[in-house]
């Protein structure tokens, strides 16, 4: 175990931080799972944070002038470069601390929030660069599996079979024809100290992982699965239930990669069938049995692979 994490006891339902670094009055959709993930992540991090947002839903809903939901210092520059902006923030802090222009012992966590498009597609190069250079920062991908901000277009994190406005089903298509890009594995391949997956349905797990990500020296990546009622065609009240179901069907397994070692943080021994998850969402409504079977097989195989990775300790 990393020495930076040795002292961290973890949050519990009884000792949650009182602070809400993310204020109400934001413009997220009813039942937005993404803004909940953002709120919980910031709650775990506290007020000594500099936050960088990529363009996307969370940026738009949190900052329409003259209102901001950010109670911590926050900057948004563009879509694809949040990791690079954070590199600059972190480097500046380092230089200013060394030169005595910022309190040396004051801990400031630099955190990036970006969506799946801003992470897996357009921002992947900047992310890879920042991870490789070893900046001490936390990158949080809020993955709602498509470009929701622009009207639900497919991204490389859109799951197989899902309907989006640019992966519509038709005579020759059943929606998204490719498998979801495994960004946590890409992040882990950089050899960074900490990678994790999380979802707001397991809020303590999410908050603990985000906090650990901040505690480690060097880059950390947390991939958070965040239901989007608008983009998925689901009921707002079911966001948490769906996120839970994604874990229980093994569609979105929860794990950590600490210094390259995989740890499954919630083992699913009796998985529910994926169909149970798929059928509750309009984006999968068109799927035939054949595709559902393919998804089930893929999920099983991926989980097996993950188990093997975790066994190789």
């Amino acid at each position: 175990m990393l020495k930076e994490l040795a002292k961290f006891k973890g949050f519990s339902a009884k000792n949650l931080p009182k602070e809400e670094p993310f204020a109400p009055g934001h413009r997220a959709c009813q039942g937005c799972g993404e803004v909940l993930a953002l709120r919980l992540a910031l709650k775990a991090l506290g007020m000594n944070v500099i936050a960088v947002s990529a363009t996307g839903c969370m940026e738009i809903i949190s900052s329409p002038f003259p209102y901001t939901s950010w109670r911590v210092p926050w900057i948004h520059i563009a879509f694809e470069n949040a990791a690079a902006v954070a590199s600059g923030v972190e480097s500046a802090l380092k230089a200013l601390k060394r030169k005595g222009r910022f309190p040396k012992n004051r801990r400031v966590d630099v955190v990036v929030f970006a969506g799946d498009g801003g992470t897996a597609d357009i921002g992947l190069q900047a992310l890879s660069g920042a991870l490789e250079r070893g900046h001490d920062f936390v990158y949080i991908c809020l993955d709602n599996e498509a470009y929701m901000n622009t009207g639900v277009q497919r991204s490389s994190c859109t799951p197989y079979g899902a309907m989006t406005t640019t992966s519509p089903p038709g005579e020759k298509s059943f929606g998204q024809m490719t498998w979801k890009k495994n960004v946590p594995a890409i992040a882990a391949a950089h050899g960074i100290p900490y990678v994790a997956t999380a979802t707001p349905a397991f809020f303590l797990d999410l908050m603990n992982k985000v906090k650990k990500a901040a505690l480690v020296d060097g880059p950390a990546y947390v991939h958070i699965f965040a239901p989007c009622p608008t983009g998925w065609g689901t009921k707002g009240e079911e966001s948490i239930m769906l996120a839970k179901l994604a874990v229980e069907t093994r569609i979105f397994p929860l794990y950590e990669v600490i210094e390259g070692k995989y740890y499954i943080t919630r083992k699913i021994t009796k998985p529910k069938p994926v169909e149970e998850y798929l059928k509750r969402q309009r984006r999968f409504r068109h799927l035939a049995e054949e595709q559902i079977r393919a998804i089930q097989q893929r999920v099983d195989a991926e989980y097996e692979r993950l188990l093997k990775l975790a066994e190789c300790l």
Partner: protein, 99 residues
């Protein structure tokens, strides 16, 4: 722009430096409660004060009162129903918002 129908928020001379927002978290001034068509109603009899509604609220709109019950702030509650959906005791019901 028709005369007198000016929609500008302020004069250009009043735009803050860099168009920054200098007051942290001032979105609390923006009341999202009027987005709501359903309202959560808590049955204190059933409530066990577990705080799931508070922690899972995306706004966040829930706060604990002196007795430890989590009470929704209707200024911000958009009526999504997550709280009612996840409440382990079924203590929250969504009712149609009266106009």
């Amino acid at each position: 722009m028709p005369k007198g129908k000016d929609t500008a928020l302020m004069s250009w001379k009043e735009v803050p430096f860099g168009c920054y927002i200098l007051e942290p978290g001032n979105s609390v001034k923006f009341k999202t409660g009027d987005w709501r068509s359903f309202r959560p109603v808590l049955d204190k009899e059933k409530c066990i004060k577990c705080g799931q509604c508070y922690i899972m609220c995306p706004e966040p709109a829930y706060e604990a009162d002196e007795e430890g019950y989590y009470i929704v702030d209707l200024t911000y509650c958009k009526g999504c129903g997550i709280c009612a959906n996840i409440c382990p005791k079924g203590a929250i019901t969504m009712v149609v918002e009266e106009v």
